[in-house]
Symmetry: C2
Subunit: 110 residues, 2 copies
Amino acid sequence: MSNFFLNDDSPVINLPDGKTRRKILAHNDNLMIVEVVFDKDGVGALHTHPHTQATYCLSGEFEFTVGGETKVIKPGDTLIMPSGIEHGCRVLTDGGKILDIFTPERKDFL
Amino acid sequence: MSNFFLNDDSPVINLPDGKTRRKILAHNDNLMIVEVVFDKDGVGALHTHPHTQATYCLSGEFEFTVGGETKVIKPGDTLIMPSGIEHGCRVLTDGGKILDIFTPERKDFL
């Protein structure tokens, strides 16, 4: 199996809210990269999971809440979500894209 | 300590080759995100490390070699580097930027 995961080869997965969609990119048991696109008013509801997560803002601006701390992030900004910490976001611009990174991989996404 | 790592707050680290520089972004013991900027003709020499790595291309085009497989990646493309696998890259355009992601974190970068 190849170690390359090209963007054009990765199917778009539409999420049930109709305002967000994801692409699963490079992943193995230890690590997973996921692109998430938000339309205007898209939200990632507060939730927790045992995976450690980091997020990188690719475009647009987002308000993120992590463990009760809330900040606005813009392209190039990042945050870390330790295992089990409650986190969520909403897009502030007409749309936006983030990279969500998980260790270990989110087997529930596959 | 905050879970947010904003881009403007992260110092630029110039690497000894004079053609590449990095910014350490979100990280904890389990996970680390690093932005790496390459000037024209910048190279990441073949090397190995025990950390699992994934890379996301932010801008420019790069030729990557991983475990003997070589491919060109462009913005949005990704690859995974399992623990201990030999990998390296060179930028093909006048410059470029990638996101390198490690689990666990690269304590040698801190």
